[in-house]
Symmetry: C2
């Protein structure tokens, strides 16, 4: 069996310890069972990395994998997974990123890029039309991400290289460091620190190949179907295309689930006027898109020239408006734009940074820490100057920033004095911007995602946008969330993280036809006869492989939980006032979820389930 389309058929494996690399064949069986992207990444981790390894040791690996559609002219499919064991959570971790780098990696001939070992000195990796080399990065080390990109393109003498790199945070092994490619990031779970631990500053890639399409007629029909759905979508044009994710500020505030001031003021602090759609529109100067994307949801914002942050430009997404806005009690969009840009330049995840700073603000206001700990900063909710200073301290590992950069879980452990009750995380990953007390499918997803509290790995758009597909949902009810969460996790995993189509588009264009759409695209591009059911099974398969990896890493059902605050303190105001997720509700949801998954009541996949998913390799571990 060989590939007819969608794949280049090759894996590039780079060993930084020995400064060597080799090409391997991509197995068609792997492609059939795991499709691409996160599927490839998680499977490689499962097969190759000891789940008990130190995430910042040379034993960890970093796997970059686009999907079969990436680099074709399929809309909204230029995405790529980055996978490693997370230094923040200890779980297997997948980040998705877009832009142009993913397609360029395919053009360079590779379906998977595996980085192993650790270079003795800082290096960068160059992949250029069949040539691969590992080169000294002395002239790049220490630079911010856009400077790194600028310098590397100049050094390479070709501006058309696409670059993924880390900033000062990744170099310093900050556990919330991200990987930046242009204005996109593989943002969460500290994968930038994994790259830094390997002394790998950047990857530059330039390709010249095309991505073959197996059956152009079937592929054309699949694209036509998708384009038709996009045009019909009530949310996509013009709203989402024009305003992007900041629209969600209005929605979340309306629902009373916009988390504020370290989740103490949800429903009370609702800065729609200053951080919502209209405020963002007033700062918009343009938009950007990923390769082949007709939507271009990235909304470029420029600060007010009268602001102390004049001149700063960035694309603050909803999550950043939450984390560096509401969570920190900051209602000033210019501050958020500047802080967002700073995070991108230093290579820091905006969600984890904002949650960690909000956590520290609560500790400061409660007197648990003082100016001695903050280096003199008045670290109160709403102090955006202090927030910006603290971001720098996180990125450069200075003072309290060093502690906060370890994530709120480790920071709370080291601070003691009950600080852990204010640490908003699941499995060490800081919470995204949906107060699950008023959106319980989100809560179950946060509790069970293999990544820790990751909204992207099973996003319950049904709760937020009222979309009744595949089922209508009552956001306050615990019942029925097991099935829905499994569905959201499985389907998003395969359609978005493996195929790889943009999550925003899946939710807004084909919530009723995600599997049919993905199956059609896959049939067209690969020539393999994927059915919708088989596509779903791929998603479920990957969820189970990830679960078994985490079990081997020491995780149990006890880790499928939520911060105590959300189980004991009801929301105080707004549209979700009075709601919380009492422990018994969480247990009910978990039990339902495990049952739907075919796992034991202790959350362990049964041998039967694994065999039914053709996962014999996982049997020894359950």
């Amino acid at each position: 069996m060989s590939f007819l389309g969608g794949y280049q058929g090759k894996i590039l494996r780079v060993d930084l310890t020995s400064k060597s690399f080799r090409e391997e064949e991509l197995s068609p069986e792997l492609a059939r069972k795991f499709v691409g992207g996160a599927g490839f990444g998680i499977k490689r981790m499962f097969d190759e990395v000891d789940p008990l390894a130190d995430a910042l040791s040379p034993e960890n690996k970093l796997v970059f994998a686009p999907g079969p559609l990436t680099g074709t002219d399929a809309p909204c499919a230029s995405r790529m997974s980055v996978t490693a064991k997370s230094p923040l959570t200890g779980t297997v971790a997948v980040c998705m990123t877009g832009g142009y780098f993913p397609a360029e990696l395919k053009f360079a001939g590779y379906d998977i890029l595996i980085i192993e070992g650790k270079a003795e000195q800082p290096v960068y990796l160059m992949i250029d039309k069949g040539r691969v080399s590992i080169r000294p990065a002395k002239q790049l080390w220490g630079t911010t991400t856009t400077d790194c990109e600028f310098l590397l393109k100049e050094q390479l003498g070709d501006q058309n290289f696409r670059i993924a790199c880390i900033g000062p945070a990744g170099e310093r092994l900050v556990r919330m460091a991200c990987i930046v490619n242009e204005r996109r990031t593989a943002g969460r779970k500290g994968l930038g620190a994994v790259m830094g631990a390997k002394n790998l500053k950047a990857i530059a890639v330039r390709g010249h190949l095309k991505v073959p399409v197996a059956d152009p007629a079937v592929f054309a029909a699949a694209k036509k179907f998708f384009f038709g759905k996009m045009k019909e979508s009530p949310a996509l044009y013009p709203e989402f295309s024009q305003h992007g994710t900041p629209m969600v500020v209005d929605v979340a505030c309306g629902m009373g689930i916009f988390p504020a001031k370290n989740w103490t003021a949800t429903g009370e602090f609702e800065p729609v006027d200053t951080l919502g759609t209209a405020a963002n529109a007033a700062r918009k100067i343009g938009k950007e898109h990923c390769y082949t994307c007709p939507v271009a949801c990235s909304q470029l914002k420029l600060t007010d020239p009268a602001s102390p942050y004049a001149g700063a430009m960035s694309v603050p997404e909803y999550e950043t408006l939450y984390s560096l806005g509401g969570q920190a009690g900051v209602a000033n969009l210019d501050s958020v734009v500047a802080a967002d840009r700073l995070c991108d330049e230093l290579g820091i995840d905006t969600i984890s940074a904002g949650v960690a700073i909000g956590f520290a603000m609560e500790l400061y206001e409660r007197g648990v820490i003082g100016k001695q700990e903050t280096g003199g900063l008045e670290l109160r909710f709403g102090n955006h100057q202090a927030m910006v200073e603290m971001i720098k301290n996180i990125g450069f590992r200075r003072g309290l920033g060093e502690l906060l950069g370890e994530g709120v879980k480790r920071a709370a452990e080291r601070i003691g004095q009950g600080a852990e009750q204010y640490a908003m995380h699941v499995k060490g990953l800081e919470l995204p911007g949906y107060d699950v007390r008023g959106a319980k499918a989100h809560g179950l997803n946060f509790a069970t995602s293999y990544n820790g509290a990751d909204h992207n790995k099973g996003y319950a758009y049904q709760e937020i946008f009222g979309i009744p597909a595949p089922r209508a949902v009552d956001r306050f009810a615990a019942e029925g969330k097991g099935w829905l969460t499994k569905w959201n996790q499985d389907i998003r995993c395969v359609t978005c993280d493996c195929v790889t189509m943009c999550a925003f588009l899946m939710d807004m264009a084909v919530p009723d036809a995600a599997l049919e759409n993905a199956a059609g695209m896959l049939r067209g591009v690969t020539g393999m006869d994927f059915t919708p059911e088989e596509v779903w099974r791929v998603g479920e398969r990957i969820q189970n492989v990830a679960r078994v990896f985490n079990i081997r890493a020491g995780f149990t059902a006890a880790d499928d939980t939520l911060p105590r605050r959300l189980m004991t303190e009801p929301i105080k105001a707004g549209s979700s006032k009075g709601h919380m997720v009492p422990p018994e509700e969480l247990q009910l949801m978990l039990a339902e979820y495990y049952q739907e998954r075919g796992w034991t009541p202790q959350g362990v996949p049964t041998p039967e389930k694994l065999l039914s998913l053709d996962l014999g390799e996982a049997l020894p571990y359950v």
Copy 2:
């Protein structure tokens, strides 16, 4: 007569008012008489622009012109002039810039690009392999220069465009705004404000043509000669290549001519240890070069991660180490690097900005202005945070920054209270970093340059580096400076600003053979039989055209002067202690200079001189 080599033979004339453009033939006579670069620019200004026009009106023009060597493989010749009437000085003004843009403009087929009129709305100009278009710049307006470049390349869908643009300062018509192309600038005299006044945010250019060479054998011999001289140069390798212009901090301090604290503390404040060669070497992460340059003198500096300016990267040249360092009383290299980068991002000339801030610091320390004027800033010498804030205020025209951005001459006039005695400028252009009280050829050059106090238009390297070519010099003596200054101005004008070879290389590699070198290169590339004498005559011709333009603009010999402080206050300490330029010395030097130039004692070119230079067109004005 047609061109055999060196020229593409075409001028691109763009009228922003009518949004139209046309190509014109470059006249071989123009090329013979004015060679290229500044020669073309000044001649176009002389012929086309009313010297009494408002520099910020649509009547002014902006002329970009590379030289005949630009785009060939001649070393160190990828330079370009930018010419306009200056909004800072009111004179005709030439800036030279390097990098890659100049060669790309030649590859695109043009020897001269003339920008006329004013667009109604912000636009950018795209020149792409024979296609020219004027496009809306709404999505770029307001951005900093590197963001503008990043966004424009993305919009154009080709990273290989080369871009010149203005920042927020140019948009706001700040009279010390510059034009930035990559990490190079057409820095002085406010040409960025001229671009801003035309509503032109950026020029993107991509070419596909080669620059023809008329006589490859002669050209090869000329290059061999130059390379030989470069290798023999005692200063070039490894010192200058390794350390670049920051070396001059050590030299200038050693000579006691490093101006400090608005020229009140020359010889007293000599921060060699913190701003000199060794300090710069400690912050160096790499280097950059212009197209075809084997020297790569640009030294990339990265701030200390422990500094409040952690993460900032720039290439602070000597002049910036003076202006944002010594002049402001700032001895901290990290501050200078960060302030330098900020100037580049906002599109502000570092020399004028630093001199203006140092001027304001003196006023503040003397109590002429207070916190009410500074917006609460403690604007004392050495306060680098205040300096950085004031740079932002200049760039965004806020508070005192609006006044300082007008230049020290206008600022002093508006402030009154004797402030003009602290305003260090000639003809409105802020002084570069050589205290002329201990380097009198520099003084005469500052006093007489057609640009105002511009070190680059007749740099007396003989005084600074002790090079005895063409003549040895006593830096403290007034006598003999007339001849030397004329020689320096003429020769640098033609070899550097027209041919266009890098000034650094001229001084260090061929101080004894600058004309022979240029003539050989010109013969090889153009096929025209240039002699060294004729090359010199081109330089002298251009100096005279510029002088007549300025006379028409209202300048007289009374404007050929120096700030009163330098004529009345001796240097208080250091190697030049006790020296100054008393008025009678300046008059002696000026008389000698006018005589050497064949000008009247009132500094007006005689008809005989103009006719001997074949400048009949200038006769009506003298």
